[in-house]
Symmetry: C2
Subunit: 385 residues, 2 copies
């Protein structure tokens, strides 16, 4: 079976996009991705949309069909992919499958979400609807899971509260150089540690914001990639895995089974291991998640990710730069777009288009976490030319 290449990428401005709706955001990223890849809309065979909740947020459904219309891509086949907060990663997997199966020779994936017209409470409730009803009825939200897990992690592994704050500081620092990031401002550790408590011990700056935005990737068989791009990326490993949907049933709350299993599958498929990864985008919806993914993916032993962060290991000039894009923390987290935007960052790093964020990388990984690790997709890409 031939390998699947990524030959183009795009990303809209993330942030508060007043007066623009999901259909506008998807079209903006879609048009830019077509241009970036040098592909005519007519040549797109499958057009996939990663989106969690356009119906709940906007009362509009059928957005993939609207996008095909707006891009004049008919009769391209369309489909919406939802895997909650990992809809973007699920979209990469679906787009990969569409090309690898031979169903499509040109698949564009566009992820997007429009959220900021809702209050924080309303948006949090839409997101919380992804939890198991047995937990939802107790008023559980994802931030509350994060707070409980962070407290457990800090106590059990004797990690300082500051180490979590340093994740936020690092990701904000990276976001300064990302012109599409929602926040392009540094924050210092003191600001993080003194921000309002949301779910003790986590504070406002341990959380990603609510965001509008869209991102896109163009996938095709590697055999024709050269016709479109001198430099491109190849998806060498990809896998997804679930963990218990009832979060409190997990044996060890610091081990995200979906991260471990999807990582294992992606490593096995690619032939690479954790030491081969040069750059990674992790799903830092909450600072604590960056630790859990680093450990689940083998970038640190259990209970030791915080030390790697303290040592500067994950800074842009460190051994393994993590979230060079700014991460969800400073780039923002438009649900369906986030996993796609992770792919955009890794793609840009591999083809040398990351501008001031550029690091030296031949192999990159992204990990997109649905819910509180309820389903996770891990993708490994390498540079090609």
């Amino acid at each position: 079976m031939g390998r699947v290449a990524i030959i183009g990428a795009s990303m809209t401005q993330f942030g508060q996009r007043e007066g623009e709706w999901i259909q506008d955001l998807l079209a903006e990223a879609g048009i830019e991705c077509l241009e970036d890849a040098g592909v005519d809309a007519d040549d797109v065979e499958h057009l996939y949309v990663s989106n969690m909740a356009s119906g709940e947020f906007e009362g509009q459904t059928g957005v993939p069909n609207a996008l095909a219309h707006d891009l004049d891509a008919m009769p391209a086949y369309t489909q919406r992919i939802d895997q909650t907060s990992s809809s973007g990663g699920a979209g990469i997997y679906a787009a990969w499958q569409s090309v690898a199966s031979g169903a499509s020779d040109m698949t564009m994936l566009v992820g997007g979400e429009k959220m900021t017209h809702k209050t924080t409470g309303e948006a949090t409730d839409v997101i919380a609807s992804l939890t198991h009803p047995a937990e939802y009825k107790h008023g559980v939200t994802l931030p509350s899971f994060a707070g409980l897990t962070a407290r457990h992690y800090l106590e059990r592994f004797d990690a300082p509260r500051e180490s979590l704050g340093k994740v936020a500081v690092k990701n904000h620092k990276n976001g300064v150089d990302n012109p599409h990031a929602q926040f392009q401002t540094e924050v210092d550790l003191e600001t993080v540690l003194e921000s309002p408590i949301v779910a003790d011990p986590l504070r406002l700056y341990d959380f990603c914001p609510i965001t509008d935005g869209s991102a896109a990737l163009m996938l095709c068989p590697e055999s024709i990639a050269k016709e479109y791009a001198d430099e491109y990326a190849v998806i060498t490993g990809i896998d997804g895995a679930t963990d218990t949907h009832v979060v409190h049933e997990r044996e060890d709350p610091t081990v995200m089974g979906g991260v471990v299993e999807s990582g294992k599958g992606a490593y096995e498929m690619s032939g690479y291991g954790p030491d081969d990864i040069d750059v990674a985008e992790l799903h830092d919806m909450f600072t604590i998640l960056e630790f859990l993914q680093m450990e689940g993916l083998g970038f640190a032993e259990q209970g030791e990710a915080w030390k790697r962060v303290e040592e500067g290991h994950t800074e842009r000039d460190g051994e393994l730069p993590i979230n060079t894009s700014g991460g969800l923390k400073s780039k923002g987290h438009p649900l369906g777009a986030s996993g796609v935007a992770q792919g955009v960052e890794i793609y840009e790093q591999l083809v040398g288009e990351a501008g001031p964020r550029q690091v030296d990388a031949d192999v990159g990984l992204c990990c997109n976490v649905g819910g509180f690790g309820n389903c996770v997709i891990t993708t490994i890409m390498e540079a090609a030319q």
Copy 2:
């Protein structure tokens, strides 16, 4: 590339399922499908859920993760597939891609929707949210498109109003022998023609009902199908295609471009043509749609499908039995389940498990229509042993 087999199928009772919710319905179909296929939950690698709007209908999202949990199928990868009213057909396509790409050697697809707890107005509005905003804002609903199109068809092709009614009569007659159908009662032509007007000239009995229900299929590479089943079906052709999302932009309202294009793709892939099809499930959300699909798929010339129906060509003992299951009309139309249930019927016909509905068939087709033909998926299967 190896072929993809269907080795098991299931379907819950369709109808009004009081006190049961989407998660219950999906789990019921999922458990039955595992049993029917003789597959352990542990062996399911990908678990796909076709569902349009659990968030809008029930305020619950993340249902694929809930299903993995309920079936104890972790760490199976899960994903929700939404393509509005053709989510089920899109699910078959996605499940096919997951196996054909080598990503999964055992994919279970479960489609479902829980709708009847909403009023007809509420459910119709959720469905109408799939239309283009430019049309939605004028208060357009899918039944209104159907009424306009039916009027145009009858006048232009000089077709009698009765011919549409006969589609309803036929499908209700078939539904009598489907123990899972919502309506297992015959209706006579007079009843159809005298039922209340919904969208002139279409009346109540020209429309499918609002339904709760779930259906499932088990897919694997044909190379291992024999380990699970003596008789199985093989997907030999499958394709999907969009038409203009703004319905009034179509040049000819009686030609559904998505049906034509997806049919063309599926025929080409399978090597079969319209004359090779022995049994078909068409998306009769409205009686007029059965005519348009028959014509788009080459079962009749444009403007002549009504004659085939008048001649009894599409009866169970006719040349090409259509909607032996009872169709959406009498079986019911739980959005995300309907396309999967079409696949279940064709599978059962091909492996000889259709009981009193059994017809003689080696090759079958199903056509699942999203919106008013905004995106359509056509699947062709053949019997194997």
